[in-house]
Subunit: 639 residues, 2 copies
């Protein structure tokens, strides 16, 4: 909702009444209703004679059937549910039933200098002093069912809600978090770790940095562009910092070599038993060959994905693929194009406009085209080769820089002039066209998407075959891991709900240094330079100097606690997880991990891995003393 | 003694026998014999009617008389002593009698990657992992008296020496240091602090950075130059880092404003007593006018000092001034040109050659000439103006850059071609000439020094008048400070011997961070990247991994302690101070302060100011396991 004139990101937002709340575009609230093990039903769709790709498709289709049937069953019971089957490493499948609330509104967000205090400098870092929280409210139709935004909607009333623990939490105290951690990779083979290290992170970080540099340039040129690309830039920077840290962690903990050593150790253990030995070596050989095959196309697929997942070309590809998918029966479609997803897709197409900056969109596309033009033989993109042959007749495509650069500029001039996709009306209109009608529009971006379509599909099939093969190998591998490690291996995160236990605890990041688990208001003032990202409001400095702590003071710290550390095993997707004390009361909100621990996705280290949360007492202090959000505090029964 | 071929700085040095020890050129050992209060004798030379300059000169001359008489007395007793009167803020004068041992030799120095581990990156920082120690041995003539280097000399045997405490020291334990802290400024007025902040540090740091950048360039070009300028660069970098920290401390602690607030508070307290009030305000007004006058010439004097204190021009100025001073009776000379100092001056002139790099010498002189050419009216250097008028006839001296630059280059070509001062033989020869004979040499650098001489003298007289005035004002000011602060104010450091008490203790550098008081061998390995300045020998990493700690292990740390923190109030000049336990046994060697505390010279903060020492157990571990210095360990009675 931010615009240069109404910059909520910078200045914060407080709705003094419900009527003042604004739509939180793009936000959806999922409320879990039930979950059910459906492993038997899913795996009965497979036969051992299937190829990996056949197996993947069979499972994919069966999952859609189960989800669709479950939603139909709920509908009969009068509930507008959203059902989803989650895959636990190919070994178990769980069906989740959600209420999916689409009318979400912003009630209160602190200003950026408070909420994002420390910005990129402090991101992933401890000691941290960010009030990283927002208050959103979900609305439903008067009958209690999910509904699109409407003035007639009423606030959703959950069966249960969390109570605030006004006394907060202490060093060493037990704590729980509930959240939806996206993905961890704790049980990979050394071949998979090698892929992450050499291909995944290095190349992706390099590409992301090129994009950030383009977006920074655009932001410097134009305040409007700066507001539009702020979200994307933040995501990219976050990604870069995290993955740079992961790479450092790979080196610091020597992850790949240690995993390979483990594999050799296990190999020696099964040496005496010929059957076990042959099975073990066959399994490792299968993993090895799987990752070797993938490496052949890794860079090509990475560039194609980046080009066709985001930006204007991403919109064109989405609309073009939908024009093909819409002709299929629902169960035959790619899952993201199933009937139930169409409202979200449509929203996404509208919301795209808010982040669209033509200059940087074009610069990023140009950069990606040049990267593709420089791919080695065997990985080349046929559609891009065709374009290069057309704009640079008779020249080697990766030849001299200046003519290629100029020719690409000319090509892009035509491309951006020949499209109507740069307005949301036009995109939404094209979204609804049949395939033939869409192609007849002769839109330049749609034509580019069409020319890339076959290669995108090939990449998708490669990925599906890979996943299908992993679905067979991984359960066998996990048997070995579990047996050899001598204790039950808890599953990797897979975006399903997870309850984590831990305690509040500091850590030693390096020799002779100890990090305490709490930061304080005093520390906010200590970091304040008056220059972003360390520019807290003058009022906060005054309040801190006057020790105006109110009921939010911690007796041991003699200050308002700001952020705190816990030992929870969290990752991306846990941001926003409530932190609960032993009585299940809210004491904070998790929003980050520490830099030393970002490689925790691959190997958890009890001494170093920490989660970072904002203390509920700081949330309340900011709401109370800085922003005067009495209505929010009243609702939380604090005033 | 280091050369590119025999690089002791880089590779370390171990004399396996006494005969292998090499002269530590430029090093002198002072051994205190007695000290005596001579305040009455000194101040009886002054009269209240004297101008500040007259007063300064009277005291200066009386000091020289007292020193000379004392040395003569010692001589009669058969002792070749060095006597020095030290000034305690104009209120007390103490006569120190030393043995000055000039034959000092290097016995053992660890290699740079160990001794200077962390280099500039870690300088002034904690956690620190440097083995900052050297073993030197002082020699005397067979009769026990100080002597120049000679094969016939024998090791000096002190009346007392320190015993090593093999068990080291613990967190919280009491410790003493003995050393010669150079200078602190704890009791300055806000006017003096303003001068340090705005003129002193800012301008001097800027100038030093320009010099470092020139020396870095020279080092990159030529390995020989790199070795020659290493010492100077290290000093400059150390100075820059320290004074940048001091400036940060001025801001962090708001020193100037707080001192001014104190002065206003004291003003309110004396308001009721007219006599006290008038005296207080007159005193403050005198300080204010003193610093205002000095500010008029501050930049000019800074540039002149830098140009004529170092480099080839420094040598020329020294030789030229000596040619004038040598005609005067000893007591009338500037103290650095008194008879007893001449051997040191002569040594300095010889040693200069080892650090002399013509290219950077010239580049620094050019930079300083340009800075002087850009001085505002009223601060201009007449001699430089005369040069500019000669090389740029008819042009504004601070006019267009290119012609001035080219003209300066041409001038410098002539200057460096027209001098013989670039060899030590020639310099020593000129050092011995009479004034007339020297001037007749028509050496270009001597001529430049002669043209600057009057203005250097004017600057010197300005400084003497300033010091003379301070000598009167400071004791009155100290009376107020002592009365108002309610407890005795211990004197500022003034390069005399000081015994300090303290304890081993960590500190919190910022919110949520605690620094432990000990670092460990584990931490050395943790920092090791293999790239300077973090490139410890592979052997050390192996020893640490194998936990080869020997008798140097600390039970609590389960490791060899490396460096440690104490609460001592130390400053420049304390480097090398022995750290003693409560039984007076050696537990370490102080070599640095922490960055948060460098402004401690102006205001000591008990929570933040720490001294950094190398643990004697690390010294012994390195000598024993890394360098195999059995002979050193035997002498320390460790083996």
């Amino acid at each position: 909702m931010s615009t240069p004139e109404n910059n909520y990101i910078e200045h914060g937002f407080l709705a003094k009444t419900r009527a003042d709340e604004v739509p939180a575009l793009g936000y959806t609230a999922y409320v879990i209703d039930t979950c059910e093990d459906v492993t038997g039903r899913i795996l009965s769709a497979t036969r051992s004679s299937m190829t990996p790709l056949q197996r993947y498709k069979a499972i994919d289709r069966r999952i859609k059937q189960v989800e669709k049937a479950a939603e139909a069953r709920q509908k009969k019971r009068g509930m507008d549910a959203y059902c989803e089957v989650s895959d636990f490493a190919g070994a178990r499948y769980i069906l989740y039933t959600f209420l999916k609330l689409r009318d979400v509104r912003v009630a209160y967000v602190p200003s950026r200098p408070i909420g994002e205090y420390g910005g990129e400098t402090d991101n992933w870092m401890w000691p941290r002093h960010a009030a990283d929280f927002s208050f959103l409210r979900a609305y439903v139709a008067p009958d209690g069912q999910p509904a699109e935004f409407s003035k007639a909607n009423v606030p959703y009333r959950p069966k249960r809600y969390l109570r605030v623990a006004p006394e907060g939490i202490k060093d060493g105290e037990f704590a729980l978090i509930i959240g939806f951690p996206r993905v961890t990779h704790r049980y990979l083979t050394s071949y998979a770790l090698a892929e992450y290290e050499t291909l995944g992170f290095l190349q992706e970080v390099k590409l992301s940095k090129q994009m950030v540099s383009i977006l920074e340039h655009a932001s410097d040129e134009d305040l409007g562009a700066a507001v539009r690309v702020a979200g994307r830039m933040k995501n990219l920077n976050n990604y870069i910092k995290k993955n740079t840290g992961v790479l450092e962690g790979f080196k610091r903990f020597d992850l790949r070599a240690r995993r390979a050593e483990q594999e050799r150790w296990w190999a020696r253990r099964v040496e005496a038993d010929p059957a076990a030995r042959d099975k073990y070596h066959a399994l490792l050989a299968a993993f090895k060959s799987l990752y070797e095959t993938r490496a052949l196309y890794a860079t090509k697929d990475l560039l194609l994905e980046n080009a066709t997942d985001t930006g204007l070309l991403g919109q064109a590809m989405l609309i073009y693929r939908w024009s093909i998918e819409k002709a299929k029966p629902d169960l035959d479609r790619e899952s993201k194009f199933m009937e139930r997803e169409i409202p979200d897709l449509r929203d996404g197409i509208a919301i795209f406009q808010r982040g669209f900056d033509p200059a940087s969109d074009r610069a990023i596309l140009k950069m990606l085209l040049k990267e593709m033009a420089d791919l080695p033989e065997g990985q080349r993109v046929r559609a891009v080769d065709a374009i290069l042959a057309q704009i640079l007749p008779g020249k080697s495509p990766s030849g001299e820089e200046t003519p290629r650069d100029a020719a690409l500029d000319k090509y892009l001039d035509g491309l951006y002039l020949g499209t109507g996709l740069d307005t949301d009306e036009e995109r939404l209109k094209m979204f609804d066209l049949s395939h033939d009608a869409l192609v007849k529009q002769a839109d330049s971006f749609i034509a580019l998407a069409a020319s890339l379509f076959d290669e995108i599909q090939e990449g998708l099939d490669r990925r599906k075959a890979f996943e299908g093969a992993l679905d067979v190998l991984t359960p066998q591998w996990m048997e070995i891991v579990t047996r050899e490690s001598g204790h039950p291996a808890y599953p990797d995160a897979n975006s399903t709900m997870r309850l984590n236990y831990g305690v509040v605890r500091g850590y030693s990041p390096r020799d002779a240094v100890w990090y305490d688990p709490f930061t304080t208001l005093r520390g906010v003032v200590e970091k304040n330079t008056g220059v972003p990202p360390f520019n807290c409001p003058a009022r906060m400095v005054e309040l801190a100097r006057a020790k105006t702590y109110g009921p939010y003071r911690d007796a041991i710290l003699d200050d308002v606690p700001v952020d705190f550390l816990t030992t929870h095993d969290s990752t991306n997707g846990n941001s926003g997880s409530p932190v609960l004390n032993a009585r299940g009361e809210l004491v904070g909100c998790l929003f980050d991990g520490n830099y030393e621990a970002v490689s925790g996705d691959f190997a958890f280290d009890e001494d170093l891995n920490r989660s970072i949360s904002v203390d509920i007492r700081y949330v309340l202090w900011v709401a109370d003393y800085v922003d005067g959000a009495e209505n929010i505090l009243r609702e939380l029964q604090r005033k």
